[in-house]
Amino acid sequence: MPVYSLSSNKKLNDSVKLKLANLLTDTHCGITGAPEQFVHVFFSDGVPIKENGSLYIHANVRKGRNTETIEKLRDTLVSKSAEIIGVDANRVMINLLEIESKWIMEGGFVMPEPGEEEEWMEKVKKILAVRDK
């Protein structure tokens, strides 16, 4: 978590998709402080987006962040995604759907509340260390 699902009306080339995946990872982690190991970005294309949009970003994100953080995340993702795909910002739509952390298990452990990742990350790091040996 987070899980970002991006729908575009046209097929995006591989380089654009990678740029968007990096943008979402950098922005999400930069603004929220979440660890980047678990940022997932999925694409689908050929979707006629509402309001003549070019890109629709849907994200399932953990609940518990303040409005300012959510707004900053939303605004940054819209403006920078628009730059990457070369359209006006009003053709990029975003929907952030907040979900309770305790409903999610990732890395083998129930996700912590936003801002309380340290202990959870320590446990996950032990598994990561074994995998990356």
């Binding site: 190991q37 694409f43 050929g46 849907h58 598994i127 995998r131």
Partner: protein
């Protein structure tokens, strides 16, 4: 009827394995959640280049299962843990690559509504009809409902 959405990567599992995962998760749901309610499993199989985790090609298995709001946290965690173990023990999916969510119906409905509402209203019946046709086609030929990624 409750829903279960499974997002996996292309070539990660065979059709037979997908059906086994579906069956296993449905059994866990029934046994541990003690529910007689049916679970509709929908699969999204991400083609190469369409999924990234930690900036790299994704190997993630993302499962979202709908539950009633009455489920207590202990039961929720138990079922998430069992699902994670089931994927590890039977299909070698590391917990690092699995994301299991047991979400209340309200969240799952909001999620599916958002998926529908992203589509321009004029095209909605056509796109939804196409998705349903493809899912039924997949059920008939592959044995599971697959949602299209490229529409």
């Amino acid at each position: 009827m409750k829903k279960m959405l499974c997002i996996i990567q292309e070539n990660m599992f065979s059709d037979a394995e997908i059906k086994s995962i579906e069956l296993g998760l449905k059994q866990l749901y029934k046994e541990h959640y003690n529910s007689s309610e049916k679970l509709l499993a929908l699969w999204m199989i991400m083609p190469e280049g369409y999924a990234f985790s930690e900036r790299k090609k994704s190997e993630a298995t993302v499962i979202m299962i709908e539950v009633d709001r009455s489920i207590d946290q202990e039961k929720r965690e138990e079922l998430m843990g069992k699902a994670s173990q089931f994927l590890l023990n039977n299909f070698r999916v590391s917990p690092l690559d699995s994301l299991i969510t047991l979400a209340n119906s309200s969240f799952v409905n909001d999620f599916f509504n958002a998926q529908r509402n992203r589509i321009r209203p004029f095209y909605r019946p056509y796109i939804l009809g196409k998705m349903i046709f493809k899912a039924l086609y997949s059920k008939w030929f592959n044995g599971y409902y697959k949602l299209a990624v490229k529409l």
